[in-house]
């Protein structure tokens, strides 16, 4: 059942990304469309570390997460200066800039050719090469992410973030540092995205810029919105549903020459229907 395990692993990696996106977009209200760029940096750095410097897998993922913490703070900083729709466009810009770097910095990323041959994780003498084995790792990673998310949301930090989303000025008037809270949230989102990147590169063994482009960022947003913004359950269910959706749509019998386009069309219609009739997603709160 490699297909099933592959689905599980990819969905679990996307759950980590969903948590990252949900934290910024859903909970703090920073409308970022560049989370895939941070994800990509995590993936490329892990690939580089395990391939070029033989860093152990877990250390490489840890280092990638740390770099992505810094990077995500950096790309989120403009949101402190420009608000709302302006930040969306800035964020678009950051994403496109990142894609240009992934595609053109051939020395570092393999460029458009991508980076093949990322080795499977090797932990304590065991190689996690089969999808069923990797699923253990991915489940562990997802569980850690979910626990962290859950702990945050029930701690005063979660309440502070929710308050910021509602009214930054009021939060400041209560003697809290909005800046510090936003930076902390961005850091956390960066750690989630970075570790997801590390898992992704090691699982697929091949990465190229197409996994980290604007489409991927939009896919992340869609996952959060369809699953449900601002809740843990929403972040978890979104990736599982959206990754399964093409497989479900494939069951609809359409003449093969237009099948793929027709399925994407249905996918678009579903998005519209969700926004019209259930903007809180499957298990979330209203955005």
């Amino acid at each position: 059942m490699d297909f099933f395990y592959t689905y599980i692993v990819l969905a679990e990696i996307y759950v980590l990304l969903g948590l990252s996106t949900n934290l910024l977009v859903g909970i703090v209200g920073i409308f970022s469309v560049s989370q895939a760029a941070v994800f990509g940096v995590g993936a490329y750095l892990t690939a580089f570390l395990v391939m070029q410097t033989s860093t152990p897998f877990l250390v490489a993922v840890l280092l990638s997460s740390i770099l992505c913490i810094g990077l995500n703070i950096l790309v989120t900083l403009p949101s402190l200066r420009v608000s709302g729709d302006y930040f969306v466009v800035t964020s678009f810009g950051i994403q496109l800039l990142a894609t240009a770097v992934f595609t053109n910095w051939t020395g570092g990323t393999g460029g458009a050719n991508g980076l093949p041959g990322v080795p499977a994780p090797w932990i304590a003498g065991h190689e996690f090469v089969e999808p069923s084995e990797f699923a253990v790792l991915a489940t562990g990673g997802m569980a850690l992410g979910c626990i962290a998310f859950w702990l945050i949301m029930r701690a005063p930090f979660g309440a502070l973030l929710r308050a910021i989303r509602e009214d930054e000025l009021a939060v400041a008037a209560l003697g809290k540092s909005v800046l510090r809270a936003k930076v902390s949230a961005a850091a956390l989102a960066g750690a989630f995205a970075g570790s997801a990147g590390g898992l992704y590169a090691s699982f697929l063994s091949f990465i190229d810029p197409s996994s980290f482009d604007l489409d991927a960022s939009i896919f992340l947003l869609t996952m959060v919105v369809v699953g449900g913004a601002r809740t843990l359950a929403g972040s978890v269910i979104g990736p599982f549903v959206l990754l399964a959706l093409p497989q479900i749509l494939a069951l609809i019998d359409i003449p093969s020459s237009v099948a793929a386009a027709a399925r994407q069309l249905i996918y678009g219609l579903l998005l519209i229907a969700f926004m019209l009739f259930r903007p809180q997603g499957l298990l979330g709160e209203k955005l």
Binding site: D167, L174, S177
Partner: protein
């Protein structure tokens, strides 16, 4: 001897509009001072200047002998000054209790590191704060509404909650921006009773107030602001009796 709160020579202009001009006054400890004046007189601008939400062009604010110039709103709350907003700015999608908790200072786990790595410590500390938050709510008479979403509270209850939220910060000087506006009957007397009770407990209140009857009943001192300038101050009876001020206030002489 310096005053409890001293405001000296504040000037602030927005583009061509002079919102504050050479505005100076003092507020005495343990008293209720009402800030009155027609719309656009600069009352909220003074609040903003005292609480660090805007930087005056010139002038100084001193609180208990400490200069507040250049302090952020966050630091000013830590010095013991907190304010409400005319348009409330409550967190309407959170419960009343969560709003009060948001006002409390020094939470354990208000940053991710402790929240994640010391979850039990965080949870214990939060449980203790819950009790304190309930006490504050009970104090303003909202204990029964603690777990209701703010958007479902009545306007009067929301007004009380605004005060509860800044009480939770532990501030000694409370700046209230029109705490009674839009209220009447029981809700109005609830708020007025609360203000007196707070004074009795030793808080100092600076209140922007439009209702002259309220001013007469609660104010110890009145500051009269007109076109960004402090034009009169004194006991409420004196200010309200002054025909020139009444002319400005009601006649809209601009």
């Amino acid at each position: 001897m310096s005053a409890y709160l001293q405001v000296e020579g504040l000037n602030k202009s927005f583009g061509g509009l002079q919102a504050l001009r050479d505005c100076s006054f003092t507020v005495a400890q343990g008293r209720i001072t009402c800030l009155v004046g027609p719309n656009g007189a600069g009352k909220t601008t003074i609040f903003n200047a005292i609480t660090g939400f805007l930087v005056p062009d010139t002038g100084h604010v001193t609180f208990q002998g400490i200069s507040l110039d250049g302090r952020t709103s966050q630091q000013i709350v830590r010095h013991g000054i907190a304010r409400t907003f005319q348009n409330l700015r409550l967190f309407v999608d959170l419960t009343a209790r969560a709003n009060v908790l948001a006002g409390m200072q020094d939470h354990v786990g208000e940053e991710p590191f402790t929240a994640i790595f010391r979850p039990f410590h965080t949870a214990r500390a939060l449980a203790a704060k819950q009790d304190a938050a309930m006490a504050v709510l009970a104090h303003v008479g909202l204990a029964a509404q603690a777990d209701m979403l703010v958007r479902n509270l009545s306007y009067g209850e929301q007004k009380l909650l605004c005060i509860a939220r800044i009480l939770a910060t532990g501030a000694e000087l409370l700046l209230l921006d029109e705490p009674t506006s839009g209220l009447s009957g029981a809700a109005l007397s609830d708020v007025m009773a609360l203000l007196r009770r707070l004074q009795a407990e030793g808080k100092t209140l600076l209140v922007v107030e439009h209702n002259t009857r309220v001013v007469q009943q609660i104010a110890d001192d009145v500051l009269f602001l007109h076109q960004g300038h402090l034009i009169a101050q004194g006991a409420p009876a004196d200010i309200i009796a002054d025909p020139k001020l009444a002319e400005i206030y009601f006649g809209g002489a601009i």
